[in-house]
Symmetry: C2
Subunit: 460 residues, 2 copies
């Protein structure tokens, strides 16, 4: 039995690890496009902030750790074609030589590629020009060289999602003056703008210039630096900087599977079922390249590292004849931006509406712990439930670092998994001690507020 995994990131490595864990007699080969298997891409911003040094620390597991599990790694090896009927993979080594690798089962974890959102100039300008993306260790080294060798003073970050925000912090820490540009009306558009505004303020409090509601259409290289052109509220706008970082999201990297005959679905990602089957015999796929089964939305595209780990594990087990299913995402996400933590799980109002629910979203503010104990900080919560059956549909939380906001969202995520109602969340027996909570936890202050608001609406 020979299992081949393509991709050295979360999905491919998780599949390989699971296969080796379940059956040490299985031969496992992982084909990795670069020399950096199992690196924590989510950690790259902390390399730039110099909180993580050296870059080798970013490996979840070292090369030696991985080989110790008994898997074979084929580094700097690019998968160019799948012969589904022949159960054979064509790969190209660093020296350009092509080779066939036959497999019994194949797990494809080719992930995603940076999106350019149709911005002119990005097709031609690259790292040597000072225009960067940040999606691989190669991108990381290129940006690192730029920072070390050319000592840029100013940076424009196009995009204000998770990575964009983390990089705004990192480059600010490194002493650059950062301008952050967001197309939507508020930064971190995965949250409601009322909460995004708190993140916006945290950025400006740390001297990041934020331009929201701003669409960039072109990047140009001039003698005085890189110039981005766009429009904000109907007005033309331009900004010049020494460095441009484009982090406007990702698109699934489906080329290989598409050519092999796989079907594309939500978000242009490869269709898989909850067992991670592609529909092609003996070909499984997982991670940022495939559609996401979501417990509330059904099939969507929501690429996240946590999901890739879980899907990869499922693919690895099923490739060996197992019968497990990916239980589904609820879209739990968290980001630290300077001293603020912003998180969400489940659906926002408009998403719930689009998926057939009757949502109502209510805002609440609750202290992370008893106000009389020093250091209490408010957590701002927006909570969404179904007005029909009272079911919890989603929650968004923003609190300062140290308020346990990241793990408070997990209480909601667990409740979403279990299909609990707002009233049931209010009933939960959550922990309390004055330095760390309240008799009714902040999580429950919000659900009680939701229930009260709805009852007031009914009586009104």
């Amino acid at each position: 039995m020979h299992l081949v995994a393509i991709g050295g990131s979360d999905a491919g490595i998780s599949a390989a690890l699971r296969a080796r864990e379940l059956d040490p007699s299985v031969e496992v080969t992982v084909v990795v496009a670069d020399a950096y298997p199992n690196f924590s891409i989510c950690g790259i911003p902390y390399y730039f902030s110099r909180e993580v040094q050296p870059w080798q620390s970013l490996a979840h597991r070292t090369h030696a750790d991985l080989e110790a599990t008994g898997m074979q790694l084929r580094l700097n090896t690019f998968a160019t074609g799948i012969d589904v009927a022949g159960q054979s993979l064509t790969v190209r080594a660093e020296n350009g030589v092509e080779e066939q690798i036959s497999y019994d089962e194949l797990v494809v974890g080719t992930g995603a590629l940076p999106s350019f959102a149709g911005i002119a100039g990005l097709g031609t300008l690259g790292p040597d020009d000072g225009v960067h993306v940040i999606h691989s260790m190669g991108d990381t080294f290129a940006l690192d060289r730029h920072l070390e060798d050319r000592d840029p003073k100013t940076a424009i970050i196009v995009g204000a999602g998770y990575v964009g925000l983390e990089m705004a912090e990192a480059l600010t820490v490194r002493g650059l003056q950062v301008t952050q540009i967001q197309r939507g009306p508020e930064v971190l558009s995965t949250l409601d703008p009322e909460l995004g505004a708190l993140v916006h303020r945290e950025l400006t409090d740390h001297h990041v210039e934020v331009l929201a509601g701003t669409t960039i259409v072109e990047v140009e290289k001039h003698a005085e630096g890189l110039v981005v052109h766009g429009h904000q509220h109907g007005e033309q706008i331009s900004r010049t900087a020494d460095l441009v970082l484009v982090v406007v999201g990702v698109r699934p990297n489906t080329d290989l599977l598409e050519r092999a005959g796989a079907t594309l679905g939500a978000g242009g990602a490869v269709v898989v079922d909850e067992a991670m089957r592609t529909g092609l015999p003996h070909v499984w796929s997982a991670g940022d390249g495939v559609v996401t089964h979501h417990r509330l939305m059904g099939v969507t595209y929501l690429p996240l590292g946590t999901t890739a780990h879980k899907q990869g594990r499922v693919a690895g087990e099923n490739a060996l004849g197992g019968n497990v299913r990916f239980a589904g995402s609820v879209g739990t996400q968290v980001v630290k931006v300077f001293d603020l933590v912003a998180s969400r799980t489940g659906l926002r109002d408009h998403e719930a509406l689009a998926h057939g629910f009757s949502p109502e979203t209510v805002a609440a503010v609750a202290d992370d712990h008893k106000r009389y104990y020093p250091g209490a900080q408010p957590i701002s919560i927006r909570i969404t439930g179904d007005t029909g059956d009272g079911r919890l549909l989603g929650a968004q939380l923003v609190g300062r670092l140290g308020t346990e906001t990241a793990k408070r969202v997990d209480t909601y995520a667990t409740a979403l998994y279990a299909g609990l109602s707002m009233e049931q969340v209010s009933e939960l027996d959550l922990s309390y001690t004055p330095p760390l909570g309240s008799p009714w936890d902040a999580v429950q202050v919000a659900t009680q507020q939701w229930t009260r608001t709805l009852q007031a609406g009914v009586h009104a």
Copy 2:
């Protein structure tokens, strides 16, 4: 409609607040034995550590806040008898004058009293002698006077439960040399001794002398100070100190309801159903004086502030004709001891066994966040599940302050409420960002470890 609540702590006030919230036309009177309604008894140790000043800050709500809700407070008024048939309460005011208060519905929240665990001398020695308990604001003022006026240098704390540990920290912060005495083999006996040992080390690291496995049988007052006598591993032991604090638990304060004809049950507490009915017509009860409905253990006695709040709310609503039920405790608890946080929810191995489960408890250690990001700290977890159906039965966690241990236990508490299995907890979509978590959260590292251990056992 006149609702009378007895007790100014969590249960009584919660009942009164809920009644006023539901129906502002209801007349609500709260009979409070002292002058300090709605004080956070859980916060008292932080008054002694001087983190909370002045003592008035310990009020959840001020007297004015409470009156603004429309409830009447009868302070320094002691309830002496209930005429159930006549729906009348006898109270004694501070001046000794007795009075009848007629009620339509009565909620009794008389709480608990400090236990003395049969230690000789505690019946006669009191605050003036330097022997203290800490259960009310009156106790607090007495201990405060002792510390201020007599400047004690040494303290013996008999008991190493939540309050005992918090007071060990507080008195150490105040400069006293503290000896902490625990009857059981390890401090914080509500956790497995393997985790209690971590708390023990935290105490000794902060120069608290810890005597575990030590039973105190007598306290005496001598010229040179207070002397406690006991035995440790069969040997006689004595210690002398300027101050003795006895915090060995509580017993339900049932006198009033017992004389009115209520039934006593688990732990000597008043039997109530999940609607908080005592069985006596128009008499409800909630809080530390009544039995606790536990979702895994059935009816037990587990007095906790969080539970009292929830039960009081149920009693207040049902007294007004509502039809709600206390959903049940899962025994979630957390305590901060110096820089350590110790928490638990659900059942430990021996408790699960005693309640008909087939438990297996597994230990795991997992970092609170990615190790490459600065400040990662291990969280020690012991997790208990049923070997028959794989259901999660309980979890205990000890981690340093800042590791979000308090809210990680809430994920388990939510899973317990929903009856999730270990494998389902492993499937949860929990939040991840490198500074605050891992792709598989610590919570899931433990459940995966449990599953692996069981499978290894099956294969063995």
